[in-house]
């Protein structure tokens, strides 16, 4: 379900002045976070630029479905995520990079893998890694797993906000995060090993 669809449910009769005020006061301050989210999803500067621009124009067009006092950042992130899925994911280079078999297997084994799953990685080794190495490990994850980590660990959204942004139940947020972090640990482990850090 797209954010735009909720417009018919809630129609706030904002005046033009109020629409601009809300846009400038509530939406624009989040533009750097939005840009970084777009860049980490598309991993392409031009696509990120287009995605942010499209998202903000959509947000303005459907501003009547935004309720003042509610979480503007989460509302914007949800539009951006939906735009990414509907407009960008299909045409971007991303699909060829994603190992769908891996995603499928991973989703299906979420519970089963819990009992045995450990990655031999020490906190000290992670501390040695620089930002680029952590970013590369994150970027190597399939986009759905990358997304939950971005929302939780980089943007600081709560599980409840993430559930709304992603249109999934909180339980799924929890288990997807758990799997995403295990996958991330594997990627970090290979970076730590390649850098010669004792792990």
């Amino acid at each position: 379900m797209s954010v735009a669809m909720s417009e018919s449910i809630t129609t706030n009769g904002y005046t033009d002045d109020l629409r601009y005020e809300i846009f400038n006061r509530e939406f624009m301050p989040h533009i750097d976070s939005m840009y970084n989210f777009a860049f980490r999803l598309t991993m392409d500067e031009d696509d990120a630029n287009d995605l942010v621009q499209d998202t903000y124009l959509k947000a303005f067009r459907f501003i009547s479905s935004f309720e003042q006092g509610t979480n503007a950042k989460a509302w914007l992130f949800r539009i951006l995520k939906n735009s990414f899925i509907n407009d960008y994911r299909k045409k971007s280079k991303e699909p060829s990079k994603v190992d769908y078999q891996e995603v499928e297997t991973t989703y299906n084994s979420e519970e089963a893998s819990d009992t045995t799953y450990t990655v031999d990685l020490r906190a000290d080794a992670v501390q040695e890694l620089i930002g680029d190495e952590v970013a590369n490990a994150l970027n190597a994850l399939p986009v759905d797993f990358r997304t939950v980590i971005i929302l939780c660990d980089i943007e600081g959204f709560t599980y409840e906000e993430m559930a709304k942004i992603l249109d999934i139940p909180i339980g799924t947020v929890r288990s997807r995060l758990h799997r995403a972090r295990n996958l991330l640990k594997e990627k970090l482990k290979s970076y730590a090993s390649s850098m010669g850090y004792d792990s």
Binding site: N49, V52, A123, A135, L138, C152, K185
Partner: protein, 96 residues
């Protein structure tokens, strides 16, 4: 629990000897650790964490690792500012 890198002292080594060296419900503990670090833990999970997390070596190490990864993600990754040209384009289109 301190995530910083240091050489363990004699006292710490002695403490380690009395700790559990393996955790029979580590999978469940990992879920609690995740909830704690994400500030999403229930009161029961917080109680369990407070009562047990200084007794079990695998859980302490897992906590340190998860905390370190979470902090690395929030602190080490470069956050780029949105290009001014994009902001200008948005504002121009909205105002037209």
């Amino acid at each position: 629990m301190n995530a910083s890198s240091h050489t363990p002292s004699v006292t710490e080594e002695a403490q380690k000897q009395t700790m559990k060296q393996s955790c029979e419900h580590h999978a469940e503990c990992m879920k609690i650790i995740q909830s704690i670090l994400d500030d999403e833990a229930t009161e029961a999970e917080k109680d369990h964490f407070r009562e047990n997390m200084d007794k079990c070596l695998p859980c302490i190490e897992a906590y340190r690792l998860e905390k370190c990864i979470k902090e690395s993600l929030s602190l080490k990754l470069v956050k780029k500012p949105c290009p001014q040209s994009i902001m200008d384009t948005i504002l121009t289109k909205v105002n037209s």
